[in-house]
């Protein structure tokens, strides 16, 4: 079961983490470590790109909540993009749609952080 994780720095100090393949209990630590590593570098504006995601169990959902808590504790956030219909159903079951900001694409996600900057001025 393969998992790919790629991160890319964007403007506004936003980091986009593209998660592809399958997130299971077996490999979810890799995902958690990536988020922890970015937080240690002071990156708290995280966007998780789920376009390439085929499968995510509750282990992966736990990592998303972990990242959300860490980011928000430092005035940042963890936002989601490219949520597929099948993943949306999982998010509805767990009511995660109420907790996470879900945006359609990278551009919108980066823009959403600059809007947060303006509103906090």
């Amino acid at each position: 079961m393969s998992l790919t994780i790629d991160s890319q720095q964007h403007e506004n100090n936003v980091v986009v983490i593209a998660v592809g393949g399958e997130v299971t209990f077996e490999n979810s630590d890799q995902f958690r470590e990536k988020i922890d590593q970015l937080c240690e570098q002071g990156k708290y504006r995280l966007v998780i790109d789920l376009a390439g995601l085929q499968y995510m169990s509750s282990a992966g959902m736990g990592v998303l909540v972990h990242g959300l808590k860490k980011a928000r504790a430092k005035e940042g956030d963890l936002r989601l993009i490219n949520l597929s219909d099948k993943m949306r159903r999982v998010f509805l079951i767990t009511q995660f749609t109420h907790h996470f900001t879900v945006l359609p694409n990278i551009e919108e996600a980066i823009k959403s952080f600059s809007t947060s900057d303006e509103s906090s001025r």
Binding site: S57, S58, V65, I93
Partner: protein, 138 residues
């Protein structure tokens, strides 16, 4: 009915997932329901791998069958570990803010929501968890 029995250890996780996948891929379930089914199955087998046995270990047995009238998928997971009904675990409060959310229990909660039926019984020294999912022809 098809069956696989292996030691309930993390090293066998992928084999168990593949066993299910190979049997349900052509079942008529759509991609969305297949993913949900895998999520439910993963939660149950992880539960056995992590909690059924102490250091001595023991087997996990998975049975898969397709039932007719109405068409449905039958999955049973058995272990000889300590008596434990995972369905009795309290559901997590999914309405509290994310920052306060405790992720524990989410997997079993998802399993109960995903499957049409999930039942537990203790029989002949075994924990037996049975999951049924209806298959709608598309």
């Amino acid at each position: 009915m098809e069956k696989i029995e292996l030691p309930a250890i993390e090293e066998n996780f992928e084999t168990l997932m593949n066993f299910l996948e190979e049997r349900v891929d052509q079942s008529g379930l759509n991609a969305e329901n297949l993913m949900l089914l895998k999520i439910a199955f993963e939660e149950i087998i992880i539960n056995v791998i992590h909690y059924a046995y102490g250091e001595g270990g023991g087997p996990i047995c998975v049975l898969v069958d397709f039932l007719e009238d109405p068409k449905r998928l039958f999955i049973e997971v058995r272990d000889h570990g300590i008596s434990f009904n995972p369905l009795e675990r309290a559901d997590p409060d999914i309405h509290v803010p994310a920052e306060e959310r405790n992720i524990g229990g989410l997997g079993i909660f998802m399993t109960k929501k995903i499957m049409d039926s999930v039942t537990y019984r203790r029989e002949d020294g075994m924990n037996i968890l049975t999951m049924i999912e209806g298959i709608t022809e598309e």
